[in-house]
């Protein structure tokens, strides 16, 4: 890990560079490839935003590992949030793009960072409104601790030590931010 002092603020910033990022992503894909249930249609669904881009990347890696992904989808959870009241005019609804029947699929639900668990709670509600999947498995690139709900990831690319749970964690992606990296800030 590289440590950098940010200019001016005096805040400690830690950065996982693109090599470390890719190793975490590969780690995640390996775990999924090893233990995902076979014999049912497999769908990979990313949570907006960034989870959708990560899901795309994961699908590519899984294909290389001979895991056939039958469906891809994007989930927007704005309408299922439990903090809509607090967000004022800020929450923007975007489309959920799941153009297949999720019933009886094994769904790999993908997000970038798992923190309080509230996003995943909303995503689970959104998914079951679309049908009855055989199972939903949760894959996250970074598990940073700090859960407020009893939610647990099945596959984790990078687990941060629990002492980091007060930090701000941001995942940057090549596709949306120009570079793959993970930033931790005090």
């Amino acid at each position: 890990m590289k440590d950098e002092k940010s200019v001016g603020g005096g805040l400690m910033t830690e950065i996982y560079d693109s090599e470390q990022f890719l190793s975490a992503l590969n780690n995640l894909a390996d775990q999924i490839a090893q233990s995902i249930e076979k014999g049912q249609p497999i769908a990979i669904v990313g949570i907006r935003s960034r989870g959708d881009v990560l899901a795309d990347r994961l699908a590519g890696l899984l294909k290389e590992k001979n895991i056939k992904i039958d469906h891809k989808g994007i989930l927007d959870i704005t309408l299922y949030r439990d903090d809509l009241d607090q967000k004022g005019g800020q929450a923007r609804v975007q489309a959920t793009e799941i153009n297949f029947d999720i019933t009886d699929c094994i769904i790999i639900l993908v997000d970038d960072v798992l923190f309080t668990g509230r996003t995943v709670r909303a995503a689970l509600d959104a998914l079951v409104d679309l049908g009855r999947p055989r199972a939903i498995r949760l894959a996250v690139l970074v598990d940073r601790g700090g859960r407020e709900l009893p939610i647990h990831a099945d596959f984790v690319g990078l687990k941060l030590p629990s002492g980091e749970s007060n930090k701000h964690v941001q995942v940057m992606l090549k596709e949306t931010d120009g570079e793959d990296k993970i930033i931790l800030q005090d």
Partner: protein, 320 residues
Amino acid sequence: MSARKKLAEKFSWTRKHLLGLEELSREEILHILNTADTFTDVSTRSIKKVPALRGRVVVNLFFEDSTRTRTSFSLAASRLSADVIEFSAKVSSISKGETLVDTARNIEAMGVDVIVIRHSAPGAPHYLARCVDVPIVNAGDGAHEHPTQALLDMFTIRQIKGRIDGLKVAIVGDIAHSRVARSNIWGLTKLGAKVIVVGPTTLVPSSMKAMGVEISHNLDEVLGEIDVINMLRVQRERITSNVFPSVEEYTRLFGLNAERMARAKKDLLVMHPGPINRGIELTSEVADGANSAILKQVTNGLAVRMAVLFLVNQAHQGSN
């Protein structure tokens, strides 16, 4: 990234009322249409509901008869998981301002979250918005505005034509007494369409020019150049009045039939706010023909009203 997405990312909705399109900016109108886009698929899901307004109460406060607008608002609220209360109140006079406010305050005291109002008095929703704290949505106020109808019309045009900017849209009929026309004119001109209002001189006053539209008293003259035609409903109560020609004359001069369609652009989009007087403003052949978007308008109305209820409620909750 598409221009639509870019706009969505920087824009923030802050209005807790939807009173009319006159006061909305182009960006605000586009934000409603873009939000409605995301609601169109809810109606196609196995569970046709999202929990965005769970635990909220929407009241339909209708002082005028309405079937489709009221049903559309009710269904939109249900699809957002809100509870819906229907409140009908027929008033014999439009001058019962005090009664209106008292009614609204009583309803507010019951703890409702959004009031959807239709009233025969222009400005009634605006007046209410000043008197009560809850969000007010205008479902038609006299001959003034009917914003959700115009929004669903614009949504339908954009859905089918792919754009609004640069299109020529004719609105045909009793423009002077039409809230649908007025809201459409405000909205369409803000989004860059060219609007031509068409009808007999008694129903299309030249003062409409001030709203930035072109005026025509001859449908056949403009028929060949328009991309969209919105046929207003002939109000039966006006037929007997002296400003209205006979039904036969109106239909002959301003009715849309197969013969006129043959002289129009091939992809002329035919719209109507409903309910249709078949054989008067539109023949059945045209109303049910390939160019007609009339039922699509109804379907889209649901998504547009969901978007409006969602946005005003969110702005209100955020401001508390």
